[in-house]
Symmetry: C2
Subunit: 128 residues, 2 copies
């Protein structure tokens, strides 16, 4: 398979497939006589894995480890779980951070008239 077909069926763009290769996330693809990258079904499977992991917010660094564990049939599931749990903690921190912002922002906008007068508690709060 050429890169375009892999992109289509894996959902990972050709651009990113090349980047993942450059960054060492996936091994270098074989090339055909004219220099085109050539892929197997297995490669497609890997790109789907990456795609799904990205959709769960895992970083490429995490995904590199996850791919390696996935391919290692002697892995310990504890290693996978650890990565996931750390990721969960990070996401929870981020959610809390955003919710704190939202609480403040909602409070401020509620008190802003939002008309053509200049008085504005939002700006007041920012300039305090």
């Amino acid at each position: 398979m050429n890169i375009g077909e892999v992109a289509k069926i894996s959902g990972v763009s050709a651009k990113m497939i090349r980047k993942y290769e450059d960054s060492g996330l996936v091994p270098k693809a074989k090339r055909n006589v004219s220099g085109y990258r050539s892929y197997s079904e297995n490669d497609v499977h890997s790109f789907r894995f990456i795609k799904t992991a990205r959709s769960l917010g895992f970083s490429l660094k995490d995904i590199k480890e996850l791919l390696s564990l996935w391919k290692n049939k002697k892995r310990a599931s504890s290693n996978v779980k650890k990565i996931a749990q750390i990721h969960i903690e990070q996401l929870e921190l981020k959610v809390n951070e955003i919710n704190t912002m939202l609480n403040t922002l909602k409070h401020l906008t509620k008190n802003c008239h939002g008309d053509d007068r200049p008085e504005c508690p939002i700006l007041d709060s920012l300039s305090e």
Copy 2:
């Protein structure tokens, strides 16, 4: 005031003060004879404004508009409120996205033994 003092009392690093100037977020600072940037109390106020707005997650593009509205005594508060509301919507989208990830991740990790055996529903799910 030199940039270092402004950085200390505004909480914005000297590095970022220069970048904000480069990017046009704040006007170019005056220079003294030796080329050092020279600031007033008013400038400090602006950097505090920026710092607070950043802590609420506003982008620099938004902050540029907010600064301009802040300095315009004939502004309409509706323009400020609009920026805040759009920002709130974006943050809510992000929170929802992260919560979706968290739901999936928590479900998967709950079902992962996390011991030295290789079976792992997390990897199973990623490779589906």
